[in-house]
Symmetry: C2
Subunit: 200 residues, 2 copies
């Protein structure tokens, strides 16, 4: 457990009532900061404030510093996506229902298009090279899962792969444009037509 359960816990930096933070909780908080500001726009002070942990504590759990923190965040994101998005896409249920589930998950994950995508955040930014591998893996796994559900729906593998790519393209693009014109409905509109676009 990270964080001591005492009333005077970290009185200077914490912005929350005393609580026990699991490592995953800490990584989640790091994730929200990175998600909004990217790697370059995030400072250790902000990460310290967001987690309620001092800098030395952060370095205790992430010995390799900021890179280590973002890498842990990406690992956790991969696990989250796998559990809530990729596996349900392959899992039981009719293809139509599985796709509907993905769309619901995306809607909550990106809070109806108001929250940015961490993946896109890292793809851009000056550190892309250092995190290329996990990014690539996540995008690939995502497209593979969509391909799978489309094949189950009777779509040929080639076309399925093509449509999966187009789906991810639209999701990422809609998030960018929604942020650019300050209109989250760009995202929700896209989600609404996504199922039809995939299954034709």
């Amino acid at each position: 457990m990270i964080g001591r359960c005492t009333v005077w816990y970290n009185p200077l930096t914490t912005c929350m009532p005393p609580a026990l933070l699991s490592r995953d909780d800490v990584v989640d908080r790091l994730m929200t900061v990175f998600r909004h500001a990217g790697y370059d726009g995030t400072s250790l002070s902000e990460l310290s404030q967001a987690t309620g942990l001092g800098k030395s504590s952060l370095y205790h759990y992430f010995p390799d510093g900021k890179d280590d923190m973002l890498l842990s965040v990406l690992e956790r994101l991969a696990a989250q996506l796998r559990a809530s998005l990729f596996e349900p896409l392959r899992g039981p249920g009719t293809p139509r229902k599985r796709i509907a589930a993905m769309i619901r998950t995306l809607d909550t994950f990106y809070v109806h298009g108001t929250e940015p995508c961490l993946l896109a955040q890292i793809v851009l930014g000056s550190t892309r090279g250092r995190f290329r591998a996990p990014l690539r893996a996540m995008f690939a796994e995502w497209m593979d899962a969509i391909t799978c559900v489309l094949v189950d729906a009777g779509v040929s593998k080639t076309i399925a792969r093509h449509r999966a790519e187009d789906a991810v393209v639209r999701i990422e693009g809609a998030l960018v444009l929604a942020g650019g014109v300050d209109d989250a409905q760009v995202f929700t509109r896209m989600l609404k037509q996504l199922s039809a676009a995939l299954l034709e």
Copy 2:
């Protein structure tokens, strides 16, 4: 004119043969840096090196500092897009040819999907709020131009607007995904089917 035409011009920092740099040239160089690293990932030292101007000289032309520089870059980008993308979309020629021209322009502008989009770069990043207005305007103008050409092609205004939004979504998304999986063909594939998707 910026830059004196002498052999010993800026011998320490310049990375180019002596030349006269117009203000637009300087802004162009700033643009390429911002485009690749975003606002947060770009330092004044890099901007200084990229332009061949000392840091203090940059403040001579952009008195309000880094924000001023990015704002000038966005203004220039708006002018460039207007001249090479938006106006041709409205201008003479059949709708089909105008769309083909846009696709060619996009292909060169993003160098077949290998170069990132400055707009997306600013939409993400911690400074989005400060540059919201010009971003919004550029995206809106872009979608308006596409809407215009589709209306000229006989598409109803409502559907045209919808398809224009979808086109920008795909372009931005394809750039993100192309960077994410390190495969520029994601972008070129999308470009290839864009004309058909717009005109159906």
